[in-house]
């Protein structure tokens, strides 16, 4: 790979310019938000228990959903990477559905299976778990919209592990379960971790599906929306800056840890 600065061809210059415009498109709104927030209002937002609780709720519910559903997503990703079965392409398509449907529609769909009249709703109530207006419902809504990120990344990671190594491990007397935990998963862990981080990130920033399942307790995206609609832009921006900052700090730190390893 050559340095972008060494090649001064027209193509390189045009592509660099276009790429720069795109980066500006991502950075400019965020930078504008930060620059338009006074230190005082930011301090006020950080000091607000309501803001802190909503950020914490977003973080932990998304993490809980990611951990919980990884027990289902990782085995499925492995199967998709290693095995052929009828309608495999249909299964791959189904996994991507949450990405393509409107998230408000996803919320309504999830609501349908979580109401008190539904099987899941009734079963949950038997164990004292309420989904609607409850963190348990938030977890499910977040997981629904973000699970494709984990499955797809993990599937690609498992597919990149040479199958031969797994076979050799079997010839050395290891059981398939041991092969999975000692060879396949450790060799695919970078991709699995990437998927894990993406799922967590996507889950905690979810708004459309979550607001339909649980307006309260409020996750950070819902709180920001509520402040925007009730009090306007000026009142919602400090809360948004706090949430975006927390997200950025966590993801930069995780990327650094992953890179270092």
């Amino acid at each position: 790979m050559t340095s972008i600065f060494k090649n001064k061809s027209l193509l390189n210059l045009v592509f660099t310019f276009l790429g720069g415009v795109l980066l500006l498109f991502i950075i400019a709104p965020l930078a504008g938000m930060y620059l338009n927030t006074s230190i005082g209002s930011l301090k006020e937002a950080v000091g607000s228990e309501e803001v802190r609780n909503s950020v914490w709720l977003s973080l932990w519910t998304s993490m809980a959903g990611t951990i919980l559903f990884s027990f289902l997503a990782i085995p499925l990703a492995y199967l998709l990477a290693r095995k052929n079965f009828p309608l495999k392409s249909v299964v791959n398509g189904i996994i991507d559905i949450p990405i393509i449907i409107p998230h408000s529609a996803a919320g309504i769909a999830i609501l349908g299976i979580l109401t008190r009249d539904s099987l899941l709703g009734r079963t949950g109530e038997l164990f004292g778990i309420k989904f609607i207006g409850n963190p348990a419902g938030i977890i499910l809504a977040m997981a629904f919209v973000s699970i494709p990120f984990l499955i797809n990344a993990a599937r690609d990671g498992f597919a990149a592990v040479p199958e031969r190594l797994e076979k050799i491990a079997l010839t050395l007397g290891a059981s398939p379960i041991r092969v999975f935990f000692t060879i396949s998963l450790p060799l695919a862990w970078r991709s699995v971790l990437s998927g894990f981080i993406l799922m967590w990130a996507r889950g905690m920033s979810e708004f459309g599906a979550v607001i339909i399942i649980a307006y309260n307790p409020q996750t950070a995206p819902v709180l920001i929306f509520e402040r925007f609609t009730s009090y306007g832009l000026k009142y919602s921006v400090p809360a948004a800056v706090v949430f975006v900052s927390v997200c950025l700090i966590i993801f930069v730190a995780l990327r650094l840890i992953k890179k270092k390893d």
């Binding site: 076979k167 050799i168 491990a169 079997l170 010839t171 050395l172 007397g173 290891a174 398939p176 450790p186």
Partner: protein, 348 residues
């Protein structure tokens, strides 16, 4: 020890057809064939990595055709990319060990590492090893697994000649220690150097199974003859000649001078037909080997003519038709064959 009975296997467009052979304990069986004839498929079907369509595999009398891979106790070593890259050499060797006692594991790892000469590499990661060291670790891991039958898939192919020769010596040593080896390769020199039994594979079939001498001296098919391309191949005894850089190879009452660094003892000698010259009188020149014999046959070759001369055993020389005319070679005529000591290829 291991018997394959009429094994057939379909893998994509390729087919293994009715493979049958028997390997005894302590055998070194080399399956020789060009690339793409199904050698690796055959090994993988023995290890259980591929499912056979028909036929049966017996190991120590037990039918293992449907046995799970991890229960077969057969190790497989590939040309490369065998070692678990996220583990150290120590961890790789310890992988098959099931003991919970760390001391016991350490003992077995050290023992296996010692047998293959890599005790100083135990803390290294596989990517830091040379080709030869890498293969030694793969062999040590198979030893640690306690398996006494190894399947080797072109294990020397990616090695330089020095590492190749060292690893050959190691494979012979392991074989002598009781490990039964089935080794696939496209390199006939490797086969000569290691095997006590060779199987020639062609288009998914084992077309000839015999001892190295039998295979190379009396190829059963045109394919084998063409593939090996060997005419003058002898088994004999190599011994050092005092105050000379030459060694003496004795076979069938003949004494042939060779320029080689192969150690004394039982060995194979090979001379390419185009390295041998024929003359009516003994040639005075740099050639150290001169034998008088009678022409038994003259056969057209792809290029020129093959002259078969009986000098106590059969030697074949490749000459041009023009040369035949100029020295008047006919069947029954007595001639001299001459070749240099450096033309003799010796394998032990």
């Amino acid at each position: 020890m291991l018997t394959l009975d009429n094994i057939s296997l379909q893998a994509g467009n390729f087919e293994l057809k009715n493979i049958s052979f028997n390997v005894e304990k302590g055998d070194y069986f080399v399956i020789l064939g060009i690339s793409g004839v199904g050698k690796s498929l055959l090994l993988e079907s023995i290890a259980g990595l591929l499912k056979t369509n028909s036929g049966e595999i017996f190991l120590r009398g037990k039918n293992i055709t449907e046995e799970k891979i991890q229960k077969r106790n057969i190790s497989i070593v590939y040309q490369d990319a065998d070692l678990f890259p996220h583990m150290s050499v120590y961890e790789n060797i310890a992988y098959p060990l099931k003991s919970k006692k760390e001391k016991e594991i350490k003992e077995k790892v050290l023992n296996a590492a010692e047998q293959v000469g890599i005790t100083d590499k135990l803390n290294r990661k596989p990517e830091t090893l040379s080709g030869g060291e890498y293969q030694r670790v793969a062999l040590a891991r198979s030893l640690a697994a306690g398996n006494d039958i190894f399947l080797l898939d072109e294990p020397l192919s990616s090695l330089d000649s020095k590492s190749k020769s060292e690893l050959r010596a190691l494979l012979r040593k392991l074989n002598r220690s009781g490990i039964t080896i089935i080794h696939v390769t496209h390199d006939y020199e490797e086969a000569i150097s290691l095997a006590n039994k060779i199987g020639i594979m062609e288009n998914g079939k084992l077309v000839h199974i015999a001892s190295p001498v039998e295979i190379f001296k009396h190829p059963k098919s045109e394919f084998v003859a063409h593939f090996t391309g060997i005419k003058n191949f002898f088994r004999g005894e190599l011994k050092t000649i005092q105050v000379s850089d030459l060694k003496e190879f004795s076979s069938n009452g003949l004494k042939i001078f060779c320029l080689t660094d192969v150690e004394d003892g039982e060995a194979f000698l090979m001379i390419q037909p185009d390295e041998i010259s024929i003359s009516n009188q003994v040639e005075i020149g740099s050639a150290r080997n001169h034998f008088k014999g009678k022409i038994t046959d003259i056969a057209p070759a792809k290029l020129g003519l093959e002259i078969y001369v009986d000098i106590g055993c059969e030697m074949v020389a490749l000459i041009s038709s023009d040369a035949r005319k100029s020295i008047g070679l006919e069947i029954g005529k007595e001639v001299w064959i001459n070749f240099k000591a450096s033309s003799c290829k010796i394998y032990n």
